[in-house]
Amino acid sequence: MSLSKIAKSDGTVKIIKTRRFNFIFPRIFLPLLSDSPTILRRKKPSCFAFTMDVEGEDKSDYLQIDQIVEEDTMDDLIRDRFRLSAISIAETEAKKNGMEIAGPVVACVADLAFKYAENVAKDLELFAHHAGRKVVNMDDVVLSAHRNDNLAASLRSLCNDLKAKEPQSDRKRKKGSAKREDKASSSNAVRIPDL
């Protein structure tokens, strides 16, 4: 028994209970299906109306519903904040080009950017998981921009700038360069007494 959300195109969310295929099949059908085991084991859920109460697990379902409602309000809040930022960026960019931008257009761009952000989040998680990591890296972000070469190049240069600024990049440096560093510092120490 699980709750799932279906986001409808008009922006509302429909909560449905989905049930495992096994539970709804009456016992008489089981012998008929026993020779086709794949059908039984396939996890295709069938959807019932929300009001159907089959197993008395209502309390946990209501908790899940509360969670989902809370999630939705959080979702709206985040979306609104993102939209505001996106709108301000779009307007400054339009001003830079000396043009005005129509209201609906800027709202459309903001929504597009939010959808893109969702895709980026999904991609980053997948890349990090693929690399066996739990924390998303800068490399993951650079990789997620692989579709456009110019974009990838600009992100990579930003990445290098950020890495150079990092004060504790010593840990990440390879042994070779670290040795070179030590040699350089030791040679400096030798030169000073000569002066």
Binding site: S2, F82, S88, I101, K122, L124, E125, H129, L151
Partner: protein, 109 residues
């Protein structure tokens, strides 16, 4: 707030992007938990081939880069649409201009 709008180089707030990513990752984590409870076959569990369901988190620099990425998405969209509008001789970016740049924009990002 107005001052931020007037800034020459406004960009997305790192905390906002972090909140968005955490929200989405938490949602995917919960969905995976639910589907794992349903899907896990005996054979997979016995072989140990099921990957652990980990909740992702982000590096600070990765967040900065993602802010730049999202900002460049918005900037590119507006700039490309502005080029089209300028070619038409108009001084306001309309929906038709956005429509024309949309396919290539989505292919590039």
């Amino acid at each position: 707030m107005r001052k931020n709008v007037m800034d020459a180089n406004s960009t997305f707030d790192s905390d906002l992007i972090h909140a968005i990513f955490k929200h989405i990752w938490a949602r995917r984590f919960r969905e995976r938990e639910r589907s794992d409870a349903i899907d896990a076959t005996e054979a997979e569990v016995a072989l140990g081939t099921t990957k652990k369901n980990r909740l992702a988190s982000a590096n600070a620099n990765a967040l900065k880069l993602s802010c730049e990425l999202l900002k460049s998405f918005v900037s590119e969209a507006v700039q490309r649409a502005a080029i089209i509008a300028e070619a038409e001789g108009m001084d306001k970016i309309e929906a038709t201009h956005l429509e024309r740049i949309l396919p290539q924009l989505l292919l590039d990002f």
